[in-house]
Amino acid sequence: MTSSPMSEDTPDNSPIGHRERTYERPDFPYRCGREKLWSLACSRGPNADGSCGGVSECMPTRKGDLWHCSRSLAAGGPCKHGPKPDGSCYTRRPPCKPGPSLRAKRSHVTFLSFFISLGLVITFFSGPTGLLGAAYNLASPGPLTAAHANLTKGNQCGLCHVGHDLDGAKLIAAMTSYQDISKQCIACHAFNGHASHPHNKPAGENIAPQTISCLGCHSEHQGEAGTITKIEEKSCHLCHEDALVFDSFSGAGGDPHPTFTPDFGRLAERSIKFDHVRHFDRHFAKATVKQHRPENCSSCHRPDSRGLTMTSPDFETGCAACHEGQIKDQPLTLLTWPEMETVLSPTTTVRAVCGTSDMAETDEFDPVSYEIPGSVDAFLMAIDPDDMSQFSAPYQDLAQQMAIEGIEPLADLIVAKGGDPSKLLAGLSSEAASKLACAWLANEEYEGFEERDGQGWFAGPLSLAYKPLRHADPVVIAWLRLALRSDDENADALGISDLRTELFDTTTGPGSCAGCHSLGDTQSIQWTSAAPNSAHSYFSHAPHLALDEAAGRPSCSTCHELTEQTSGPATFAAIDTTNCQTCHGRDGVGETCNTCHLYHPRTQ
């Protein structure tokens, strides 16, 4: 050794030229088999087809009659032996077994992955359940929730996924189109409203013209313990991204929950009109009813079976002892025979039916009645009760028809107003109505009749009326509903306003119904104690009451504070968010939207 080996250690970074040295091609698919075994690679390298190219060191070229060695300069230049006489290379070696280059290996692995993936997809998804069977159905993104799992026993994916049972061209068509599965949900699940509209509200009710997919909020295949009905907060924020997004319920760290509506919690205005203050301070103070005084709120109000709303006692339990007689004493007057300025000549048929021949045929007419028409008959006959010249003829026509047909003419008038005579005239005898009409046509007072010990239909000398048989009398309810259902636009002209004024008078109205049952915002009657929860929100009373009781706090009055009004019944003070923020907040109990709100309207 004449020099240090390190002096010769400069790496071989000489310029790449085909004459001077071999060119390593990283993208070439094969590498020399000798090099693969860390031996000296031959200069020619593998052939393009992957066979060894180094069996000979060169391919001699022929010039004239002579063969010349063509070994490259990089391999040492022409060899001293030169080619054999037959033109083959003198230096021959046994062939090596070229192997794939690094890049080729990577391509092989990639193609292998590609084909294995494709093969697995085709194999496992072939057939209705795939090769692995129903238990390992690769199409399923996971097991169903318990309720749905029972429906789909036996791998009945097609119950919900119509595409599961498709094949051939229909399957291909299904792959290239998208249809919402929601219609399959709606096939079983009914909602209190339009299923695909936001909050199931009808179109046009402050709702954007769009449809909502069930999948927008609900996600199946979450396993047996999955909560498909649980709505995530972000689902609400997709639409309510401005006004209803707040930093925390209490406002800690930013904006608080929007304040409740001004009448939130003012139960009396939308429920049974029960004046708590008046009852406790005045009525229950009397010695005669002292025994009915409840001890506290929970003596009358208890949570319902779900613990959501508070129930109130029914009429029989809570009210009948004092108010039943009041109801039965207030009649509904159907007909009032008014003062007539003239009298018509009864028809022959009427004379025959009524059994008399000299009915009111006098030149000087002296009316038996000095009454004016009632609001009910004025409404039915569409007359002006103050214009005698207008209503005389219709009344006498009605009486003549009633004399012949009983209650049929009344029924016709009711039908014309959109009512149901079978409900509105239930229990009224045609014979009694006919006799009543005959008496009035004869310009006589009717001697009267009454049924059921003074309750139900009865007639006075100049009127036909109805006394409620009991609380929630169906005839009275039917008349109240007819009054509300009638046309509002021409209420005054049609006598509807007067009718409503009479029927809904809190004291003298039939059964004094309106004394307790208020009219709702939509002109509907609050027949029952209205639930305080709206269709899209709820408040679980039971757990809150339990907390209050455990903490020794007064339960109901923690939130519901009675306030006496200057006029009208006492009501409850409105509830604001501070009542809730005591516990609900970022560091307290839940404050997510669905803690209190429902997407789908509640079905009462």
Binding site: D9, W38, L138
Partner: protein, 273 residues
């Protein structure tokens, strides 16, 4: 200066690409589809981003086309890959799906993403480590360089035997040192920055120094010098090989993800009705 200016331009391009992605995302968020079919919207956005990632592979195969620098494409590829990860979580709504097929899909996705991020780290760190070695060595020439070293060691051994008449160094080489000079050794330890190969050879040389005659020691010194060169080649081999090897995980897993994703889209269409 030129290099710095180009880098800045690339980053502006990268930021612009991300801004466009964000703008598209926000615009999609305003549509009713986010309410009606959120999974469809996020899914197709995911597919579009994944497709754009695949375009980088096409770009690499078309070096002649004037469609931007490969380095810029790589930056966009990396940035889009990160966006893809967040889009995947948004689409999935969780970290890990429950269905068997979806789990295979997610597994291939995570492998592709993690290997891609690993590759990016490798691309950023290993070239610095390679540069710190000192010499510039081409990976494809390492086998021939090792053979050259081996020949020089064997020449040295022949000289030693000829001039000293002693064969103990030659025998020791045949028994132990030849294994070291045969091919790159201690690849994994070299990769993580350890010098197990150097220590191993030093131990062997120390043992030999006790047994060799004084006349043989200069030749051992020459072999030690060649071993130092071998260690350099080993480091180059390990580091440069790793620069390419991570793609063995990234490209196949991305391919599996692509196949599974296409089938997933078809399944969604079939089973959404």
């Amino acid at each position: 200066m030129t290099k710095i200016a180009l880098e800045r331009r690339d980053w502006i391009l990268l930021g612009g690409g991300l801004a466009v992605t964000a703008a598209i995302w926000l615009a999609l968020g305003q549509t009713n589809w986010m309410i009606i079919h959120p999974a469809v919207l996020t899914g197709y956005t995911l597919a579009a981003i994944a497709l754009s990632l695949g375009l980088y592979g096409v770009r690499k195969r078309l070096p002649g086309l004037p469609i931007g620098k490969a380095s810029t494409w790589l930056k966009l590829h990396v940035a889009s890959g990160l966006v893809l990860l967040f889009a995947f979580w948004l689409h999935l709504g969780t970290f890990w799906p429950s269905g068997l097929f979806e789990q295979i899909l997610a597994l291939s996705f995570y492998i592709a993403i993690v290997s891609g991020l690993l590759g990016r780290v490798i691309q950023k760190t290993l070239p610095l480590a390679i540069a710190s070695i000192g010499d510039q060595v081409i990976l494809e020439r390492i086998p021939r360089d090792i053979i050259g070293l081996r020949e020089r060691v064997e020449t040295c051994l022949i000289d030693c035997a000829t001039e000293t008449g002693e064969l103990s160094l030659t025998v020791a080489y045949e028994e132990t040192l030849a294994w070291y000079f045969r091919q790159p050794r201690f690849t994994w330890s070299t990769l993580v920055g350890m010098s197990r190969g150097r220590h191993w050879f030093r131990n062997q040389a120390t043992i030999l120094e006790r047994t060799l005659s004084a006349k043989q020691l200069p030749y051992l010194e020459q072999i030690k010098a060649l071993a130092a060169r071998k260690h350099v080649l080993d480091r180059h081999y390990a580091l440069q090989h790793m620069l390419k090897a991570w793609l063995f995980l990234h490209i196949p897993s991305a391919t599996v993800f692509a196949i599974a994703a296409i089938w997933h889209i078809a399944l969604v269409h079939i089973y959404a009705q």
